[in-house]
Symmetry: C2
Amino acid sequence: MLTTSQLHASLMDPVLDSLNFLNEIINRFPNAISFAPGAPNPTHLSNIDIGNYISKYVQYLREHRNLNQDQAQRLLCQYGPAQGLINDLIANALRNDKSIDVSPSAIVITVGAQEAMLITLRALFISSRYQLAVVNPCFVGILGAARLLNIDVIGIEETEAGIDLKRLEEACHIARQNNQPIRALYVAPDYSNPAGTVLTLEARQQLLDIAEQQDFYILEDNAYGFTSPLGEEIPSLKALDINKRVIFIGTFAKICLPGARVGYVIADQLVDEENGRSHLLSKDLATIKSMVTVNTSPICQALVGGMLLEYGGSISALERARSTLYQNNLTILLNALTRRLATNTSLMQAISWSQPKGGFFVRMRLPVAADMALLELSASKYGVLWTPMSSFYVNNGGTHELRLSCSYLTPPQIEEGIDRLAAFLQNITDHDIKRSNNSEKCL
Amino acid sequence: MLTTSQLHASLMDPVLDSLNFLNEIINRFPNAISFAPGAPNPTHLSNIDIGNYISKYVQYLREHRNLNQDQAQRLLCQYGPAQGLINDLIANALRNDKSIDVSPSAIVITVGAQEAMLITLRALFISSRYQLAVVNPCFVGILGAARLLNIDVIGIEETEAGIDLKRLEEACHIARQNNQPIRALYVAPDYSNPAGTVLTLEARQQLLDIAEQQDFYILEDNAYGFTSPLGEEIPSLKALDINKRVIFIGTFAKICLPGARVGYVIADQLVDEENGRSHLLSKDLATIKSMVTVNTSPICQALVGGMLLEYGGSISALERARSTLYQNNLTILLNALTRRLATNTSLMQAISWSQPKGGFFVRMRLPVAADMALLELSASKYGVLWTPMSSFYVNNGGTHELRLSCSYLTPPQIEEGIDRLAAFLQNITDHDIKRSNNSEKCL
């Protein structure tokens, strides 16, 4: 019998443990209305004609790669280049839609954004001294990838403007003094998961300056960029990246489908070779990828490529076709919260919540600990699920906060869910008020 | 500018460098007949009706999971469980076809065998002291995965019976004395890549005993098991594995298609938990996988599942449908070698080659170094490509050997290729004889 309690200890951490526990609770209450999942809305996943999209890409291959039908179809069934197949389509779309001007060879197509994170960390963290900084709270996928590679992580607090830049600079100084320099910062500047905050344009420019001064790289996760309200999009860090400090991670999980498992990473940095020449960092990422998954399924790439082609090769057009639903859901969620909670004076003294203009997530502060025990009460007695924010903190934090996601539900479910949440909140704040009254009496 | 010459050094090793160089040569001579690629034959990849196979699996989901058409189709488009979707189909096939009796929950579906190797190594190598033993020469994918995780590798020489078991036992003793125990042995017991050798039944049983005595795990790579001639199949190590020492890695790249990127790993070992309970190692592998690729594309799993269902859910039936072509190609290759080389007495004194009954690979020994310079000569002057065996050795070795793969070519290409190879061999052995005559004169 394997005695790998060590194994457990080496791979699990409080964040991942709590997410496992969270999933268990969610599974135990299948009839509860769940504001927990940040997954794409099921409506967008109905009637996806996989064969049709793949055919569309096969047609593109015939026209642009000088292949006949059989050769083009066979290309999808074989192994493919580690760097990817649809790099040209993505490079064109990024140039036209996002003011990101890179060559197809600077892009590596990955098995979702998760693999992009893993291979990027593996390429950058060539010394065990290096630390990874993350905006805290942060997406658990990056913590998992860092854990897998035994990379130390330091959390930099999120602020209204996105990130505490002063604290980041201090952390860089201290880390260098301790001979444990910060090699990279992970940040999702647009409607981040879980907190839903947006990095202002000014903060983006300051962050790029700091990266250059303090000599670290920025891993920009763009997963929720597409949910920006029309006309309020802020250029990505990569679009502003004069000094090639930014490695950009994109995903098609939200705008096409998660089931394809297709993401990508842009790494147009130059890497010096010993012979005096240089090559793009993307080449090293592709080599690392070949040790992880060999190559991303060409069939899945064709499916995503076909969807892109369906929208004239435009990522923005594809994004707009998806973002309306989330904008609408978010508005319904925020309105329902206001309608059900804002008129209740005693409740409003006890709780508060964010008012994001985009993204999937609303963050709510409670007067009591929003922990697993409270979630279990919420699920069992009130039939409503949410995510404790503490699950996303590197160090202790967010103990009294919860995350509500609007992405997975229908408008009627959101309305009904907020009704249930209101009843739940009324109950716990009543209890809380009683409890604090009691404790005052005890004093 | 990134100064990551260190990055390069930390990830590349002589094996991977030489394979990159090999690919460069292959790409420079597109019109040469290439015995280099071990990829599946293109014939098997024509006319794969992706949509039809996916529909077949959707139908299966409707019948066996109580889903309607829309739910079943949507299931493929969403995220899925990290452990996989088609575990039940594979568990049934392994029980019926391979005498491997494990529950679906002991299986993790991976993005090809490569990801299976990576996550298995990450789970087992929880101490940096541990060493990985590999049968030498060996498949480069396992070396890449070990390199990515900074795992030290020790090579154990291959023999006629498969592996030098005496040397393996000695290595275990020495490693333990040096406080660097061998944690696992990687072996492909059936027509291994690159050497094409087969572990006898007796050697398999001895190996299992040694694993138990010396306390290591066996990573069994089954990629070429399907090429065994009918009636000559030897039970897999996993089928003989009474003490749960074997972690079995399977792939659908060769029997279905590489483009789906679907493999799997069986890990039915019990892992002790701190609370006194235990769980299957597969659960830990799934957790690690969630940090690498989240989950294997359900669409790709459905495609492979549909192909399995097309063959009545039988892996063996699927294998037989593919193996005939490779058996035929191998016979043609071996006959052509005999016809063109065996009658040439001077050549036969200088060279020799293996006579495998299955697999993709023939190994040939030359009187001169089969290095990149010789390959370049072979490609440029004779229009024939092969793989230097030294590419597959952990330590120096195989310098005078080359690998011929029969998998990717048509019978006429094999005939023509061996004609060219014969001319090339005639030339180099003539030169070699002249050279050795000259050197004798010099003495």
